[in-house]
C-alpha cells in the first residue's frame, strides 16, 4: 500500500539492509591487512539480486588473484 503522503524509498527497503551490512563487511576487509587480498574475489562471488554466493567462483578468483607474494594480484 502506498500512502499518498509518503513516497516509498527503495533504498530503505528491507532487501537493502542486508546489502548495507555486507558492503560494510567488505569495506572492513579492505582495511584489514590480511583480508584485503580476498575482497575482490568475494565481491565478484556475491550476487545481491539473487542473494546467492558462488563459492567456487570465489575460490577461483582467489587463486587467480593472489600471486607469489600473496597480497598483490597478478
Amino acid at each position: 500500500m502506498v500512502d499518498e503522503n509518503q513516497t516509498p524509498d527503495p533504498e530503505q527497503g528491507e532487501g537493502g539492509k542486508a546489502s548495507v551490512v555486507i558492503t560494510a563487511a567488505l569495506l572492513s576487509m579492505r582495511e584489514n591487512e590480511k583480508a584485503r587480498a580476498l575482497v575482490d574475489a568475494l565481491e565478484s562471488a556475491w550476487h545481491p539480486d539473487s542473494g546467492k554466493f558462488d563459492v567456487e567462483a570465489a575460490v577461483r578468483g582467489i587463486e587467480a588473484g593472489l600471486g607469489e607474494e600473496g597480497d598483490k594480484p597478478q
Binding site: 500500500m1 500512502d3 539492509k17 563487511a25 590480511k34 584485503r36 562471488a45 554466493f53 575460490v59 593472489l66
Partner: protein
C-alpha cells in the same frame, strides 16, 4: 490511510454481500461467537492485500475454499478513507488483481501483506526452535541474505584450509622422499660423490647448484632420430638371424662330426682284428668277399667327415662369439634399465619386457650348443631394445650412467621440494586471509543482527511489561548467536537472579502468548508497514480480565494512531474496549444464518438499544438490552475509578449494585458532583429495567418513553465525569498523592 468500509460478498461465511462501515477510519472491536465469521474477516483482509491466504496451502485445500459453497466467486472490497475503493475477486482457485474501483483518487497498492496475528500464529512462533525463530525473524527484518553471504565466506575459508593442508602434505612428502633418497648421507656429500662419479666438469656444491644443473646429452639426450635407431635395429636383427642360421648348421655338422668319429674308431678296431686274424672273414659281417667292400665304404665315409671337421670348428667358434655378444647385450640392457634417466621412461616398459626375451634367447642358444641341436623357433627380441642396448653397451661407461641418473633424480626431488614449499606458503597466506575475512564477516553480521534485535528489544520489553506486569521477569530481550544450537531466542532474568532461556522453561502459556503478542507489536513499531493497520484475531483466549485490559490500554497508548481490527469471541473484552477505548468502534455479530451469513450491529449495548428503538422495535422486547446497557454504563466509572463494590460470588453484578458502589465511592471520595440528581434518577431507571426484564407480563410494562429517558440518563451519567474545563474524564490521571483519580486539570477529583 485508514479503512472506512469493509465489504464481503460470497467470501467464506458471507453468502450475501455484507458491509461493515468503520466510521472515520476508526479502530474496530468486533465480537462474535465461535463460528460466526471472525476469522473470515481476517482471511478477507489478508486475501484483499495479497491475493492469497496462507492456510489454504495446507492439506491441498486451495483458494477455492474461500468461496462460499453456494457461490461461484467471491469478492472483498475495501474503501480507503479519502483515497478510493479497491476490490479483489476470487473465482475458483484463481485470484484476480487488486482493482481500483470508482473513487475520487486512483489507488495504488503494492500487495504489502496486512499484519495479521492470530491465536495460533502467536503460539506457533514462541514454540519454534531458536534456529527457526532466527530464519523467520531475519526474513522479516530483511536480513536473511546475510546468512547466505556468511555461509559463502565460511565455505571459502574451509576450501582454502583444505588446500593449505594438501600443500603441507605435499611438502612433507617431498621432504620425506628426499630424505629417503639421501639416507644417512648429507646432501652436500652426496652431490660431491655423484659429481665425481659422473665425471662432471664442475662439482655441484649444494641444492641450488643441482637445481640449476642440466644433465649431459649422452645419457639424457633423446635419440637424434627414431629412424637411425631403426636402422641399427635392422642390422642387429639381421646379425642375430644369421647367427641363428649358423647355429643350426653348426648343430647338424656337430652331429656328423660325432658320427664320423665313431666310424673311425670302428674302422681302426676292425683293421686291427683283420691284421691279427688267420681267418678270411669280416669281424662285422662274417663274409669274406664283403670285407673289403665294407672297409672301402667306411674309409669313404671317414674321408667325408674329416672334410667337415674344420667347418664344425669354425661354427663352434661363431656360436661361442655370438653367445658372448648376446651376454653383453643383456648386461648393457640391464644397465640401461637400472640407470634409466627420467626422460626416457617411455622405453622402460618395453625394455623390461624385451630383457626377458633376450635372456630367454641366450639360454636357448646356450642349450642348443650344449646339446648339439638346433635352437628351434626362437623369436628375436624387440628391435628397439636391441638397438638401444647395443648403443649404450658400446658407448656408456658402467659407472657414469648410474651417477647421472641419481643426480637427475635428486634434482627432480629438490625442484619438487622447492615448488611444494612455495605452494604451501602461498596456501597458508590465503588461508590466513580467509580466516580474517570470515572473522570480520561474522562480527559484522552479528553486530547487524543484534542491532536490529536491539531496536525491537526496547519496545518488546516495554510492551511485555505493560501486558503482563510481572516484575519477576526483567531484562527481557532477543539475543542472537551462531554457536551450536544458536539462533535467535528470548532471554530474561527471573527475579533478578537467574538467566532464563528459552522462556518455556518458566513461563506459563498465557505469559508465552503475551510474549508472542509483544514481539508482534514490537516488530510493527520498529518497522511499520506503509499503512498502519493491524488485525488481531482472537489473541486473548488465554488472558484473564486484567491482561485483556492491559492489552487494550497498550494498543490505545502505543498504537493510538493505528487502525486496529480486533476480533474476539469474548463479550467481556468488547465491554473492556468500550470502557478503555471509547474512540474505537465496537461492533457485534448480532445474528447469523446459513443463508444470510453474519449480521453486524453495534457492539455498544446502548447504541444497539437506541438503534433498535429507532427501528421501531417494541419496547417490551428490549428490556434485557436496556438492563445490559445500564449495567455497562454504570460499570465503566466504577471500574475506571477503582471504586469498591460488594462481591457476590453467586451472582453477577446488577445495575443497582454498580449504582450503590458509584454513589458511595463518589461521596466518600469527595467527588464534586457526588450529589448530582442523575445518580438518583438512575435508581428509578434500574427499577424499570429490572421489572421489564423479570416481570415483562406485569402492568404497566416498559414503554418506549421509559427507554428513551433511560438512554438520556445514561448519556447524562457519562457527562457527569466529563470535565468542562479540560475536556478529559475524571479518571484521566490516576493515583496522585491521596487522590484516587482526577481529570487533567484537577477540577474533578476523587480521593
Amino acid at each position: 490511510m485508514k479503512m472506512a468500509r469493509l465489504e464481503f460478498d460470497g467470501f467464506r461465511c458471507f453468502r450475501k454481500k455484507r458491509a461493515l462501515p468503520l466510521k472515520g477510519g476508526r479502530s474496530l472491536c468486533l465480537q462474535a461467537e465461535n463460528g460466526r465469521g471472525k476469522t473470515s474477516i481476517a482471511d478477507a483482509l489478508e486475501f484483499w492485500s495479497t491475493g492469497d491466504v496462507a492456510w489454504t496451502h495446507r492439506d491441498g485445500v486451495g483458494l477455492e475454499a474461500l468461496v462460499h459453497l453456494d457461490c461461484h466467486e467471491a469478492a472483498v472490497e475495501i474503501q480507503v478513507d479519502g483515497v478510493g475503493v479497491a476490490s479483489r475477486r476470487l473465482h475458483g482457485n484463481s485470484s484476480g488483481p487488486l482493482e481500483a474501483g470508482a473513487g475520487p483518487l486512483a489507488v495504488n497498492f503494492s500487495g504489502e501483506r496486512l499484519p495479521v496475528l492470530g491465536h495460533r500464529t502467536m503460539a506457533q512462533f514462541v514454540d519454534k526452535t531458536a534456529n527457526d525463530k532466527r530464519s523467520e525473524l531475519l526474513e522479516a527484518l530483511g536480513l536473511n541474505d546475510l546468512g547466505a553471504f556468511r555461509a559463502g565466506v565460511r565455505s571459502v575459508k574451509s576450501q582454502l584450509k583444505r588446500r593449505a593442508k594438501e600443500m603441507s602434505e605435499r611438502q612433507k612428502a617431498a621432504e620425506q622422499a628426499l630424505n629417503a633418497q639421501l639416507g644417512e648421507e648429507k646432501l652436500d656429500d652426496t652431490l660431491a660423490r655423484l659429481s665425481a662419479s659422473a665425471g662432471l666438469d664442475s662439482r655441484l656444491s649444494d641444492g641450488d647448484d643441482l637445481i640449476a644443473w642440466k644433465p649431459p646429452a649422452v645419457q639424457t639426450q633423446a635419440p637424434s632420430s627414431p629412424l637411425s635407431r631403426s636402422e641399427e635395429l635392422a642390422r642387429a636383427r639381421e646379425e642375430l638371424s644369421q647367427a641363428s642360421t649358423d647355429l643350426w648348421t653348426a648343430a647338424i655338422e656337430d652331429k656328423a662330426a660325432a658320427e664320423q668319429r665313431g666310424l673311425s674308431t670302428l674302422l681302426e678296431a676292425g683293421s686291427q682284428v683283420m691284421a691279427t686274424s688267420d681267418e678270411d672273414r669280416c669281424p662285422l659281417c662274417l663274409t669274406a668277399q664283403d670285407r673289403q667292400a665294407l672297409i672301402d665304404r667306411i674309409s669313404e665315409r671317414a674321408a667325408e667327415l674329416a672334410a667337415t671337421d674344420e667347418k664344425f670348428g669354425k661354427a663352434e667358434q661363431q656360436l661361442t662369439a655370438h653367445a658372448e655378444a648376446a651376454r653383453r647385450l643383456v648386461r648393457a640392457l640391464e644397465g640401461v634399465l637400472s640407470n634409466e634417466a627420467p626422460m626416457e621412461v617411455d622405453l622402460a616398459q618395453p625394455l623390461e619386457a624385451s630383457l626377458t626375451e633376450l635372456k630367454g634367447y641366450l639360454e636357448r642358444l646356450t642349450e642348443a650348443r650344449a646339446q648339439r641341436r638346433p635352437p628351434g623357433n626362437v623369436p628375436l627380441p624387440s628391435a628397439q631394445v636391441v638397438a638401444k642396448a647395443h648403443k649404450v653397451a658400446l658407448s656408456t661407461p658402467a659407472a657414469v650412467g648410474p651417477a647421472l641418473v641419481e643426480l637427475s633424480t635428486l634434482k627432480g626431488m629438490l625442484v619438487e621440494l622447492r615448488d611444494s614449499r612455495a605452494a604451501a606458503a602461498q596456501a597458508d597466506r590465503r588461508e590466513a586471509a580467509a580466516n580474517a575475512a570470515a572473522q570480520l564477516t561474522d562480527e559484522a553480521v552479528e553486530r547487524a543482527i543484534q542491532a536490529e534485535l536491539d531496536r525491537i528489544n526496547e519496545p518488546l520489553a516495554s510492551y511485555y511489561a505493560q501486558l503482563v506486569g510481572q516484575p519477576v521477569y526483567t531484562d527481557l530481550r532477543l539475543v542472537y548467536t551462531e554457536a551450536r544450537a544458536g539462533g535467535i531466542e528470548f532471554k530474561f532474568k527471573w527475579d533478578g537472579r537467574h538467566d532464563v532461556r528459552p522462556p518455556q522453561k518458566v513461563m506459563s502459556e498465557s505469559e508465552l502468548n503475551a510474549l508472542g503478542l509483544a514481539l508482534f507489536l514490537a516488530r510493527l513499531k520498529t518497522d511499520p508497514p506503509s499503512w498502519r493497520t493491524m488485525v488481531l484475531d482472537d489473541v486473548v483466549a488465554s488472558f484473564d480480565a486484567v491482561h485483556r485490559t492491559r492489552l487494550i490500554r497498550l494498543l490505545v497508548t502505543e498504537f493510538g494512531d493505528w487502525q486496529v481490527i480486533l476480533l474476539t469471541h469474548d463479550s467481556q473484552l468488547s465491554r473492556t474496549v468500550a470502557v478503555e477505548a471509547p474512540q474505537w468502534q465496537v461492533e457485534k455479530v448480532t445474528a447469523w444464518t446459513p443463508s444470510e451469513g453474519p449480521t453486524f450491529g453495534p457492539g455498544n449495548t446502548r447504541a444497539r438499544l437506541r438503534e433498535r428503538l429507532d427501528s421501531g422495535e417494541p419496547a417490551e422486547e428490549l428490556g434485557g438490552l436496556a438492563r445490559q446497557a445500564m449495567e455497562e454504563a454504570l460499570e465503566r466509572p466504577v471500574g475506571k475509578m477503582g471504586l469498591k463494590i460488594r462481591h457476590d460470588p453467586t451472582n453477577g453484578y446488577a445495575a443497582d449494585e454498580y449504582r450503590r458502589a458509584l454513589v458511595g465511592g463518589l461521596s466518600e471520595g469527595g467527588f464534586p458532583r457526588a450529589d448530582d440528581e442523575i445518580l438518583v434518577r438512575l435508581r428509578t431507571d434500574g427499577s424499570i429495567t429490572n421489572r421489564a426484564c423479570h416481570y415483562s407480563d406485569c402492568e404497566p410494562g416498559i414503554t418506549e418513553q421509559d427507554l428513551r429517558i433511560l438512554l438520556e440518563d445514561l448519556d447524562a451519567l457519562d457527562q457527569l465525569f466529563h470535565c468542562d474545563t479540560c475536556g478529559k474524564k475524571a479518571w484521566e490521571v490516576p493515583h496522585q498523592g491521596s487522590t484516587r483519580c482526577q481529570c487533567e486539570c484537577g477540577e474533578l477529583t476523587c480521593a
